[in-house]
């Protein structure tokens, strides 16, 4: 796998490059601004991009805009966005094209190396990796007659992990339950929320769940 890193903080950029190389992932380029990143992207299509949001010259949201632009140049280019803070509105924007291959994580998630590499692999394969904090905030939005209230605590946990982008077997592993139990929970959740149960697996299911959570947002 060939990955491009765009991150203006030198420590984090070098750290990320080292971490990926150690895991046997090739770092095609490591740049510190959006312009150099886009210049590289024009020339070749990497397998995935790891991207910071705030970068020179204006230190606003250029990373996010560069990510969207890169996906226009190479449709469905897997992008994993890292940021010091997460905003639900950014998550909604990243997912807006409905194509998948999108990740949005807090920078410190890199510290849990295995989970981070798993998220990167998932994104590179067209899946989704949403930060638990994004999901938590989406689920915390109280609404009048909130259908989420009908879910049991365990079902909410499963819903959250589904929204983060995990597949059934990983959810089962994380919650230390059987695959069958997870399946049953998911069927209950979809029934209670009125979501079509034939959304299938993978990214489409995540999108359905996120669309549900982010409804009225964006």
């Amino acid at each position: 796998m060939r990955v491009v890193i765009a991150e203006d903080d030198a420590l984090l950029r070098e750290g990320l490059a080292l971490l990926l190389k150690t895991a046997g992932i090739e770092v095609a380029a490591a740049v510190d601004n959006a312009e150099d990143f886009l210049a590289f992207i024009e020339g070749e299509r990497p397998d995935a991009v790891v991207m910071d949001v705030r970068m020179p010259p204006t230190h606003r949201d250029e990373g996010l805009r560069a990510a969207v632009r890169a996906r226009e140049i190479h449709p469905a280019l897997p992008v994993l966005v890292l940021s010091a803070h997460v905003e639900t509105s950014y998550a909604v924007e990243l997912l807006a094209d409905g194509v998948g291959g999108v990740g949005y994580l807090l920078k410190e998630r890199v510290g849990k190396v295995e989970r981070f590499l798993d998220a990167l692999q998932r994104v590179a394969k067209g899946g989704t990796a949403m930060d638990p904090e994004v999901i938590g905030r989406l689920m915390a939005r109280r609404r009048a007659a909130d259908p989420l209230e009908a879910l049991t605590a365990r079902e909410r946990e499963v819903l959250g992990l589904m929204a983060e982008g995990y597949n059934n077997s990983t959810i089962a592993e994380l919650l230390v339950v059987s695959d069958g139990a997870v399946l049953k929970h998911i069927r209950n959740i979809f029934a209670k929320l009125g979501l079509p149960s034939d959304e299938g697996a993978g990214h489409r299911r995540v999108l359905a769940v996120l669309a549900y959570l982010g409804r009225d947002a964006g």
Binding site: V53, R54, H59, R60, D61, A84, H85, E87, T88, S89, V92, L106, E108, G111, K112, R137, R141, R142, R143, A144, D216, A217, G218
Partner: protein, 420 residues
């Protein structure tokens, strides 16, 4: 053809213009006469007020005058107030009251009131009588010029002129015309008189400035106080939260280092624990950063950040941006928190089904409006939400207005000057 149409159109325009001018002139004269004639009445009141003040002054050496001086001055403010309101109405612009709290004896407005009372008492009745009498006299002079033959011995008109022959009748008509012509000056006189009232009965320029300085000093003190409280809160958050956690990380790493060779398994546990603690510290730091200056403001500007707030709002909220400009960061942050607190208030108390947020103003003024369709009856004295919003606004020399009749809608308007 085209020229003809244009010509006819312009003729109509001229006729129309003439009618408009005449009606406007007549209306002007009528309002001026009314102003001056009623002025004759208030001029009498001014005389009474002056006489009363004079009498009280005369009694001062005998002791009883001194305690009644202040009440008498206050009493004299009533006729003055009537003239202030009349002048404001006549000029079509408000004249603010100049009075300060405290003794009227020390109030600089008292001296100006007295000047007005003297001028008005001396001139008001004469001018009023002239404004009333001139058109009547003019009419009378003209009528005399035609009816004198039927009156034996002639008629005596104004200025001792006896109309008893055609030449004197002609002179009478000329006098009538002169009177009518001078009547056209009446609006100017009324404006001049109202202008004097405006100058004397509004706060003196220096006083306006002094009041503004006092107000700014007060808001500046409040701003400093608020700023200080904010700094103390941030310091406490960082000290008790982030700093303590990072110290714990350093400690955990230190112990892990000690155990590294003897007990690698425990050392590894400690490393993981240190990582968790550092992650918690980061989460806390994010909360503090958000409370100082939300990152979205830097990345997306005020409009983008307010839109994100609206998206997060449990009560559906729409954002309308009428005018957008880069504002000073502190003003943008204040505006952001005003919207956040207002939305929290609506969610908690209003029982509303929707909120409309409007961002507008000019380059030098940021205007926010938050309107909900809830139950209304919001009261600033109850609860701390609105008071907190007012404090934020006032710290920036801004204003807050709230209308919230029972049954709604509640409209909160906040204006923040942007210093340019």
């Amino acid at each position: 053809m085209e020229r003809w149409i244009r010509g006819s159109a312009s003729t109509t325009a001229v006729v129309g213009w003439d009618t408009v001018v005449v009606t406007t002139r007549l209306r002007e004269c009528w309002s001026a006469v009314r102003y001056l004639v009623v002025g004759a009445g208030t001029s009498l009141l001014s005389m009474f007020a002056l006489t009363g003040l004079f009498a009280v002054l005369l009694l001062c050496p005998f002791g009883i005058g001194i305690p009644s001086l202040a009440p008498m001055i206050r009493l004299s403010r009533r006729p003055v107030g009537v003239d202030r309101r009349r002048a404001a109405r006549h000029l079509g612009e408000p004249i603010p009251e100049p009075y300060r709290d405290g003794s009227p004896l020390k109030d600089p407005a008292t001296r100006r009131d007295l000047a007005w009372l003297a001028i008005h008492a001396a001139t008001g009745t004469i001018i009023g009588a002239l404004a009333f009498g001139l058109p009547l006299s003019a009419l009378q002079q003209v009528v005399f010029a035609f009816v004198w033959p039927s009156v034996p011995g002639g008629i005596e008109g104004s200025f001792g002129l006896v109309v008893n022959s055609w030449p004197t009748a002609g002179l009478s008509v000329l006098i009538g015309i002169a009177m009518a012509a001078s009547f056209l000056l009446v609006p100017r006189v009324a404006r001049w008189k109202a202008g004097i009232a405006q100058r004397l009965l509004s706060p003196a320029p220096g006083v306006v400035l002094a009041d503004r300085v006092a107000e700014l000093t007060a808001t500046r003190a409040a701003a400093l106080e608020a700023h200080g409280a904010e700094l103390r809160r941030i310091e406490r958050d960082l000290h008790d939260g982030t700093q303590a956690r990072i110290a714990a990380v350093v400690l955990q790493l230190g112990i892990a280092d000690q155990l590294y060779e003897r007990d690698p398994a425990t050392a590894r546990d400690l490393l993981l624990k240190a990582q968790d603690t550092a992650t918690d510290a980061l989460a806390e730091l994010r909360t503090v950063v958000r409370s100082i200056h939300p990152p979205l403001l830097s990345e997306r500007g005020l409009a983008g950040a307010v839109r994100a707030l609206a998206e997060r709002s449990p009560v559906p909220a729409a954002v309308d941006v009428e005018y957008e400009a880069a504002r000073p960061a502190a003003v943008e942050a204040a505006a952001y928190f005003v919207v956040a607190e207002a939305l929290a208030n609506v969610t908690k108390h209003a029982d509303a089904s929707k909120v409309d947020i409007t961002l507008g103003g000019t380059a030098s003024l940021l205007r926010l409006e938050i309107r909900d369709d809830g139950r209304g009856g919001a009261d600033e004295a109850v609860g701390s939400g609105l008071a907190g919003i007012r404090r934020r606004a006032e710290a920036f020399d801004g204003t807050l207005t709230l209308t919230s009749p029972p049954g709604g809608p509640t409209v909160l308007r906040v204006e923040l000057p942007c210093g340019s």
